[in-house]
């Protein structure tokens, strides 16, 4: 009886270790897998060439990813500009001013927003944001556009970032010790002065991390952006023009990538690039969070 229990214990313990190690090695396995598939493209192009060249002609074997990287950066930065102030203010309100009732409501709201599938945001973007841009916003600036644009991608992405960023910011603000806030008030600060000088200051590394992680999240978002961004290679910096972010490129061309030589390798390189960029950003800012949490 005892022996049987020991054996079960051993087996289960081994399985636990295998599981955990597999999960932890996942990024490495994915990276290696993608690298093997992408290797042919490295034989003909250098890494810098792939990243910085704008020459994109897959049928001629030209793979310059810069326009797509730039497209990704553009929608990501726009999304950040739209979502960061809203999230920062909302997080301040929800952790410092709001009634308990509102806080109780906001948690499921955040959960649902975070849980809505990407494609739903895309549908909503097509129904609301795209016509809004082509019908109202663009004419206001004297622009003519279909609405499928970098701006539409940025707005939809911003909304997708909100639950993620807001949740992290709220967690960050909650770590400010009550005693510090009491001290600030007792020295004669108003609520807002306390927030400005003490709460935000105390949370600075956390705020930076929340922003960084949200940027990484936005950078990798695929379907929703792809549905509204127009998917045409970025030609200008005009936000009313369409763009073509990296994830959209991969998702749009997987069907034909096996029919053009090297195309599959190039697209797997794009996926590898996404993985590396996002993983590095994540590791960096998560480290920042872990470090400040300990202090």
């Amino acid at each position: 009886m005892y022996l049987r229990r020991r054996i079960i214990d051993r087996l289960s313990g081994t399985w636990m270790v295998i599981s955990l190690v597999t999960i932890l090695l996942l990024p490495l396995i994915i990276g290696v897998g993608l690298y093997i598939k992408a290797a042919p493209v490295f034989e003909q192009h250098t890494l810098t060439e792939l990243i910085t060249s704008s020459n994109w002609a897959p049928t001629k074997g030209k793979f310059g990813f810069w326009p797509f990287i730039a497209g990704s950066l553009y929608v990501t930065v726009l999304a950040f500009i739209f979502s960061a102030p809203v999230c920062l203010l909302a997080a301040i309100h929800l952790t410092q001013y709001a009634s308990k009732k509102l806080v109780r409501i906001i948690h499921p709201v955040i959960d649902i927003l975070a849980g809505l599938p990407s494609v739903i945001y895309g549908v909503w973007g097509i129904l609301i944001i795209v016509p809004f841009i082509s019908g109202y916003l663009a004419p206001l600036f004297g622009q003519n556009t279909t609405g499928y644009s970098i701006l539409a991608g940025g707005i939809v992405l911003a909304i997708m970032c909100i639950p993620y960023m807001l949740n992290m910011l709220m967690e960050v603000f909650k770590t400010v010790p009550m005693g510090t806030r009491e001290a600030s008030l007792s020295l004669g600060a108003t609520y807002w002065e306390s927030i400005k000088h003490v709460v935000i200051r105390h949370s600075r590394p956390g705020i930076v991390s929340a922003f960084g992680l949200s940027l990484a999240k936005a950078f990798g978002e695929t379907i929703a952006v792809m549905m509204v961004v127009g998917n045409r290679v970025l030609s200008s910096l005009n936000p009313f023009d369409p763009g073509y972010p990296l994830p959209a490129l991969i998702a749009n061309n997987y069907g034909e990538m096996l029919s053009i030589p090297m195309y599959d390798a190039a697209l797997m390189f794009a996926a590898l690039l996404l993985l590396v960029i996002i993983l590095v950003i994540n590791l960096f800012f998560r480290y920042l969070i872990h470090k400040t949490q300990k202090a």
Binding site: R5, S12, G13, W15, M16, S19, L20, T22, I23, L24, L26, I30, G33, L34, K37, V86, L89, A90, I92, H93, Y97, I105, I106, P108, I110, D111, L113, G115, L116, P117, S118, V119, Y121, G122, V123, W124, I126, L127, I159, L166, T190, Y191, W192, E193, F219, G220, T222, I223, M227, P247, A251, Y254, L267, A271, L274, L275, I281, N282, R286, H290
Partner: protein
Amino acid sequence: MKRKNIEEGIFKILSAVASYSIIAILAFILLIVFVKGFGALNLDMITKTPKGGFYYGGEGGVLNAIVGSIYIGLGSTVIAIIIGAPAALYINVHLIRFKKAQNVVRYFLDALWGIPPIVYGAFGFTLMLYLGMNASLIAGIITVSLLILPIMVRSFDEVLCTIPKGLHEASLALGSTKTEMAYKVMFKQGFSGFITAVLLSFARGIGDAAAVMFTAGYTDLIPVTFDEPAATLPLAVFFQLSSPIPEVRERAYASAAILTIMILVISLVARFVSHRYSKSNIN
């Protein structure tokens, strides 16, 4: 003094507007999806597979995609449970005395959470080619299970790590092995967290499009075996929406409404379950 108060007033209003606007945004999204979707929703949509000429506005529904999504969601959740639950238990039972190792593991898991679905999709695709498989239900299930694994482990772990340490010691002192303690004590105590993790993973599995796009394929039939391709609801929305025919686009909205309802129901159940269990537990 006056300027102070004005500044405070402005920011108080701005921040309140910001937080209410987030509720408004959710309401707006749901409203649009439902209003647009219910217009085209009928019983056929959820009870029939696409019939001839469906993609030109002909008869049929998206039952193939609904069932396909549920299959992929269920299959990937099962795999994620088999690998993820023991991993989460290991962190909280075997590593309990190694605070540093726990931190490192959690750090990597958090970072894993950030990897976008499209990367999993691309990897699943290479894996599929490598194994000589075609786009199929099983390929989709495996890819999605990789995607939801970090979610499963980390959200289960979140609850497990709140279980008081005294419980471990008591259980070990009574002579149980670590495995017995993990599954009989910890698992039971963290059951609400486990259910939440499962439902969260399941919802993610149903809703994801980028990972299954490469690996599960798309078909009008309901898959019977694992090596047949499977349609998925998010892709049904996506494909129908790119059609120039208005009737088909209408159906995309209806499909979006179905998908949204499924996700909402799962998330409501998750909330309900986690509340219920956390009340009946010690913690």
